[in-house]
C-alpha cells in the first residue's frame, strides 16, 4: 500500500514539475486494490481500467516499467503506446486494460469464457468504478456472466466520484452491490478503506466464484482522495466530505492498527518508507532515462 501511495504521489509531483504526463491516481483507494489482489491466485486473471496503478503494483508490477509507460517510453509495459490510461501487463495476468469506462466490463466475460472452455479453475477479476456501473455495458456484462455461468469476480470500487460528477448525481441508490439480485447472482458491500476487511470479503467471494463458477459482485466503498486526473484542484469537492474521508485514510488506519497491535514498530514503519523511497528513486530514474519509442512504432502492432 505504501508503495502504491508513494508511486502515485511521486507521479503527481513529477507531473507538476513537467517531467511526466498527468495520471488518474488511486490515492485513498490502496486498500481496495491490495485487499482484492491479495485474495487471488497467481494464475487468476485481472482486468482493470484507467485507474490501474494500484492493481498493477499490488500484482507485483515493476514501478520502473510502469512509470516508463506513463512517460511514453519504449521500456514501458506497452512500449509507451499505452501511456498511463490502458496499461496491460500480460506477464502479470493484468490484461486488456481499457480506458473506455466500461471497457473492462465488456471484455471480462470473454476472458472467463476462455477459462471455462479450457476447463481451468482460474477466476477472472474485473475492477471498475461506480461510474462504469452507470454504463449499459455493466448491465449486459453481469447478465451474460450470470446466464453463461462465467467465473468473474466483479469488483466495483465505489469512490463516490465519476470524474467531475458526484456519484449521488448519477443514481438514487447508495449501493451498487445490491444490483446483483437483478441478475440472479450474489453481491456484497465492504468497507474499501479497511484492507483486512477487503481481503476477507474478497477471499470469500473469490472462493465462491472458483467453486460455483458463477459471477459475484463485490463493492468496495472507498474514496478518491486526490482529484480525477492530475492536475485537479478538487475545487468542486465538498470540503467536509473530503475531510471525513481523509480521516479514514486506509494507510494511516492500517499503520495505526499495526502499531497498536505491535505487529509493526515505528522503526519498522520507517524502514518500509525508506525501502519504498529507494525503490521509487530507482524506478523514476529508470523511466526518465529510458528511450522514446522509435518512429517505426507508429504503425507496428496494428495488424497481427
Amino acid at each position: 500500500m505504501q508503495l502504491i501511495r508513494s508511486f502515485e504521489e511521486r507521479s503527481a509531483a513529477s507531473f507538476a514539475e513537467g517531467r511526466s504526463p498527468g495520471t488518474c491516481t488511486c490515492v485513498g483507494q490502496e486498500a481496495s486494490a491490495v485487499g482484492v489482489v491479495a485474495a487471488l491466485r497467481e494464475d487468476d486473471l485481472i482486468l482493470t481500467n484507467h485507474r490501474s496503478a494500484g492493481h498493477l503494483l499490488a500484482r507485483g508490477a515493476d514501478p520502473g516499467r510502469l512509470m516508463a509507460e506513463v512517460m511514453g517510453r519504449a521500456t514501458g509495459y506497452c512500449g509507451g503506446k499505452s501511456g498511463t490510461l490502458h496499461v496491460s501487463a500480460k506477464e502479470l495476468g493484468v490484461i486488456l486494460t481499457s480506458t473506455i469506462v466500461g471497457g473492462e466490463l465488456s471484455l471480462a466475460p470473454g476472458v472467463a469464457l476462455s477459462v471455462s472452455m479450457k476447463g481451468g479453475d482460474e477466476i477472472v477479476t474485473c475492477f471498475f468504478g461506480d461510474g462504469a456501473a452507470c454504463e449499459g455495458i455493466f448491465h449486459e456484462a453481469l447478465n451474460l456472466a450470470a446466464v453463461w455461468k462465467l467465473p468473474v469476480l466483479f469488483v466495483c470500487e465505489n469512490n463516490e466520484w465519476q470524474a467531475f460528477v458526484h456519484r449521488r448525481e448519477t443514481m438514487l441508490t447508495d449501493d451498487i452491490a445490491s444490483r446483483a439480485s437483478a441478475y440472479g447472482i450474489e453481491g456484497r458491500t465492504v468497507d474499501g478503506n479497511d484492507v483486512e476487511a477487503v481481503l476477507a470479503a474478497a477471499t470469500e467471494a473469490a472462493a465462491k466464484v472458483r467453486a460455483t463458477r458463477m459471477p459475484f459482485l463485490l463493492e468496495t466503498k472507498t474514496y478518491r482522495l486526490r482529484g480525477h486526473f492530475e492536475p485537479d484542484d478538487q475545487g468542486y469537492v465538498d470540503k467536509a466530505e473530503l475531510a471525513s474521508w481523509k480521516a479514514r485514510d486506509p494507510i494511516a488506519a492500517l499503520r495505526a492498527s499495526l502499531l497498536e497491535s505491535g505487529a509493526l514498530t515505528a522503526g519498522g514503519a520507517a524502514a518500509i518508507e525508506r525501502r519504498v523511497a529507494e525503490r521509487l528513486d530507482a524506478a523514476f530514474t529508470f523511466a526518465a532515462d529510458s528511450p522514446w519509442p522509435s518512429l517505426d512504432e507508429l504503425t507496428t502492432h496494428v495488424y497481427a
Binding site: L96, P109, G110, M117, L144, H301, V302
Partner: protein, 326 residues
C-alpha cells in the same frame, strides 16, 4: 462443384473450421436456434444463443479472442453494430496496438445489410466504410456463394478482427461452391470479367449490376473489366491500379451512400497513383446520401442499377475519346 446458398455456405465454413480447430466457437441472438445442426455436432458450449445485447456479444468475443479462442459472432443486421462499436473499434481494433502487441483478436463479426428485405434503414445500412476507417479491423463483403465460404474460412483463421458483411439480396440465391477444402485469401480481388476499355470496380450485390452492364456494353463494342473487391480492407489496390492503367477509365459502384463511402477511397487512390493513365473523370455510382426506405420501390431504386452503370461507362469511354483528340 456443388450448388448451395451463401447462407448454407456460411454454415459449411463454420462447421469445417470448428472441426479443424477446437478453439472456434460461434454465438449470437438465435444462432443456436437457426443452426441446430451445428449444435448437434459441436455441442451447446460452442454454438450459443445469447441475451439480446450486441455490446456484450462483441465484447465477449474480443475478450475470448485475446485469450485463446476464435469466436464468430452473429450480430444480425449492420445497424445493430452501432451497439457494438466500442467493443469492435476501441477494444478489438485498438488494444493490440495500445498494449504494444501483447494481444491479438482473432474474431469475426457477421452482419447482414443491403436492399432485399424491405425493412428499412434500421436493418439496411451499408456501413463497411466505417470499419475500413477503423484501424486494426479487416472488412469483407463477398458476392458469390463460393466466396462467402472461402472468405469466411480465411476470416476465421486470420489473427485480426474481421467485420464480415452479408448482402441480404445474395444470401439465399444458390451458387456454385467448389467441393472439398475451399479457402479464399483476404485482400485479393477477383477479376470477374476482363476488358480493355473501362474498369468497373465493385463488391457485393452491385457486382451483379456491373456484370450485367458489361454484357450490355459488350454488345455495343465496349469492353469492360469487372473487378469484385471481395475484401474491402485490405483492398486489392494492385489489381485495381493494374486494370485502370490498362483501360484508362474507372467507374466505382456500391450500394452504400456515396458521401465518404468506400468508393471514395478507391477513386482517391487511383487519382493519386494512376493519374497519368486516366483518360476520363472517375465516376462513382452509389446509393444516395439518405437512409434506405422500407417501401419496395424506394428500396430497389436506392441501389445503382446496370443501366446506370452502363451509362456511366459509356460516358467515360466517350469523354476519353474527346480528350484524346483534343
Amino acid at each position: 462443384m456443388k450448388t448451395m446458398t451463401p447462407y448454407d455456405a456460411i454454415g459449411e465454413a463454420l462447421a469445417e473450421e470448428m472441426r479443424r480447430d477446437a478453439t472456434v466457437l460461434a454465438f449470437g441472438e438465435g444462432i443456436a436456434t437457426k443452426r441446430h445442426d451445428l449444435v448437434a455436432e459441436f455441442g451447446a458450449a460452442r454454438i450459443r444463443n445469447t441475451p439480446l445485447a450486441e455490446g456484450i456479444i462483441a465484447g465477449t468475443a474480443a475478450g475470448a479472442a485475446a485469450t485463446g479462442l476464435r469466436p464468430v459472432v452473429d450480430l444480425l443486421f449492420a445497424p445493430f453494430l452501432t451497439f457494438a462499436m466500442d467493443e469492435l473499434v476501441n477494444s478489438a481494433g485498438k488494444l493490440r496496438f495500445l498494449s504494444g502487441g501483447q494481444f491479438s483478436f482473432p474474431m469475426v463479426a457477421l452482419a447482414m445489410t443491403g436492399a432485399g428485405w424491405g425493412v428499412g434503414a434500421q436493418h439496411n445500412h451499408n456501413v463497411e466504410a466505417w470499419f475500413a476507417h477503423s484501424p486494426g479491423l479487416k472488412v469483407v463483403m463477398p458476392s458469390t456463394a463460393a466466396d462467402f465460404k472461402g472468405l469466411l474460412k480465411s476470416s476465421i483463421r486470420d489473427d485480426n478482427p474481421v467485420a464480415f458483411f452479408l448482402d441480404v439480396a445474395l444470401l439465399h440465391a444458390p451458387g456454385e461452391v467448389p467441393e472439398g477444402e475451399h479457402v479464399v485469401p483476404l485482400g485479393k480481388a477477383a477479376i470477374r470479367r476482363t476488358g480493355s476499355d473501362v474498369t468497373l470496380v465493385s463488391y457485393a450485390k452491385t457486382v451483379l449490376g456491373c456484370l450485367a452492364a458489361a454484357e450490355t456494353l459488350a454488345a455495343e463494342g465496349i469492353s469492360a473489366e469487372v473487378i469484385d473487391l471481395r475484401t474491402i480492407k485490405p483492398w486489392d489496390e494492385e489489381a485495381v491500379l493494374a486494370s485502370v492503367k490498362k483501360t484508362g477509365r474507372l467507374v466505382v459502384v456500391h450500394e452504400a451512400s456515396r458521401t465518404a463511402g468506400f468508393g471514395a477511397e478507391i477513386a482517391a487512390t487511383v487519382a493519386e497513383k494512376a493519374f497519368e493513365a486516366l483518360r476520363a473523370p472517375i465516376v462513382r455510382l452509389a446509393g444516395p446520401d439518405a437512409p434506405a426506405a422500407s417501401s419496395w420501390v424506394l428500396e430497389q431504386a436506392f441501389v445503382p442499377q446496370a443501366d446506370a452503370i452502363a451509362g456511366a461507362a459509356r460516358t467515360a469511354v466517350a469523354r476519353a475519346m474527346v480528350l484524346a483528340t483534343a
